[in-house]
Amino acid sequence: MGKDELKTKITELLAAATFEEGGEWLNINVAVGDWPNFAQQLRQEPTLWFDYLFCLTCIDWKTHLTMVYFLTSTKYRHSVEVKIKLDRTNPDIETVSQIWRTADFNEREVYELFGVNFINHPDLRLLILPDGWEGKNPLRKDFEDPINMIRL
């Protein structure tokens, strides 16, 4: 499906979804409450069939966090990018690790590096950071480490 067809189809599924212009793929903005259902639909809808979550990450915008999900369909070879705005002080979002298993590890990485709390995640523990790590999340913009941080 092309960008426009995807847009129509997704508006049918979720009327509240908004779209961003530009970018390589269709950019969808979704509210955090709609995400669990919408993710399920993206995966299971026969004409969409987004079965491959090829990238999952987070961006710290200083005022809020944005979760970014890159999805592709191995059947139809179309891709979309889903963005979800999160509150910076209480970043809670439903996990998608039951839908795409790769999200398990990737969400754990985002959890420790950005402090996003994934609700219902099967095993939300530190993966990269050492045990007993306390305090700030390294990839947030206000993280400071006077000894180890490299700056030019």
Binding site: V68, T102, I128, L152
Partner: protein, 371 residues
């Protein structure tokens, strides 16, 4: 929280493999729950070599950050650099000279052969065959010498820059690559005799660590790991970059999904790489090796994503730009991270001795996982 050593309440034994273990080829730490000799759970503990390259890149300019990425998947250094250069070029919207495009693809494929060579030798050594290691390193050394002559380095080449390649190829390059290929084509058959057809080897690999195509996709596996399960996912075919749409090669697919299938994919991929190099080595177009770019690069506000096929699978570079000289946020979607996440799934229920065969055919490079 699992205790790191001892027994669980059900009487299962917990053992640690790594962080210092010769078969993990790096500082990977696995906590394994065993029932007798059967694996119940494999839990990777990462981070021993995490340098937070993503954070580092936020304070480096678009010319500088490429050098750091050579240290991610150090066996595919060229291809990592290639991905970053392509992503920056996407933002700058510069046209790359045809000569640079071909040189890049040649370097990528030589890297792929060198990487698969090292994997082949090291994996064979892990499961108990020592000789292949020396054979593999002999050929890999020749590639490293060729790289050294043109790029000035043997491992972290930093040869690709936004706009093309850093300098033109060495006058000896074409001749040396051709004589290497001549020798190498004979060697591939030698490998088959030495290991691929060996009955002891086949018994250790066959039906070990089976991965279904659905699980491969769901776990985000890419590269030879997914293609061994019959998942067609070659980025060079689906999203061709640089000169890949001008060359003929086959995407290698196996259907069994076991360790032997993953092994065969890599062996056959080396032959496809030879095929690509043969098509291009005599047809390097004349012209510039670098497009003219500004001394200080500034990407427009927006986001750019570039995916390439490294020796291990799909590498994605995601740059979020605010219009400045440094990226606001950069994310590397590394193939090793996703490929490792499937280890627990395929190892459950198999014997401890098979774990090394599974890890070997997933081709894990730890700095790529930890970044």
């Amino acid at each position: 929280m699992v205790e790191e050593i001892g027994t669980t309440t059900e009487g299962d034994l917990i053992i640690n493999v790594g962080p210092q273990h010769p078969a993990t080829h790096g500082v990977l730490h696995l906590v394994i729950t065993l029932n007798g000799e059967t694996i119940k759970k494999v839990e990777p503990h990462l981070g021993y070599i995490h340098r937070s390259i993503e954070k580092m890149c936020e304070s480096l300019t678009y010319r500088q950050f490429i050098y750091v990425t050579s240290r991610m998947d150090y066996l595919s250094a060229h291809i990592n650099n290639h991905a970053c250069a392509l992503c920056v070029e996407k933002g700058l919207q510069v046209e790359i000279p045809a000569r640079a495009q071909v040189i890049r693809v040649l370097m990528d494929e030589l890297t792929r052969i060198a990487s698969h060579e090292l994997w082949w030798g090291a994996m064979a050594m892990d499961i108990g065959a020592f000789t292949p290691f020396f054979h593999a390193f002999r050929e890999r050394e020749t590639i490293n010498d060729i790289m050294e002559e043109t790029c000035g380095a043997r491992l972290t080449m930093n040869y690709m820059v936004p706009g093309g390649v850093m300098y033109d190829i060495h006058p000896n390059f074409q001749g040396r690559v051709k004589s290497f290929l001549q020798l190498y084509k004979l060697k591939i058959h030698e490998y088959a005799e030495l290991l691929t057809g060996n009955i002891i080897f086949i018994n250790r690999m066959k039906n070990v660590g089976c991965l279904s195509p659905e699980d491969a996709i769901s776990y985000g596996c890419t590269g030879p790991t997914a293609r061994g399960s019959g998942v067609s996912c070659d980025i060079r075919k689906y999203y061709p970059y640089d000169a890949y749409d001008k060359v003929e090669f086959d995407e290698v697919l196996e259907t069994n999904g076991d360790s032997l299938a993953r092994y065969m994919v890599r062996i056959r991929e080396m032959q496809q790489s030879v095929r690509i190099i043969e098509q291009l080595i005599d047809n390097i177009p004349e012209g510039d090796f670098q497009a003219k770019t500004k001394a200080v690069l500034k990407l427009p506000k927006g986001e750019f994503y570039q995916r390439v096929e490294t020796a291990r699978g799909e590498l994605g570079v995601y740059i979020v730009s605010e219009g400045g000289t440094t990226p606001y946020r950069i994310k590397f979607r590394s193939p090793g991270f996703s490929n490792l996440s499937v280890l627990d799934h395929i190892a459950r229920g198999s014997k401890l001795g098979d774990l090394v065969a599974m890890m070997g055919t997933l081709d894990l490079v730890i700095p790529d996982i930890d970044r």
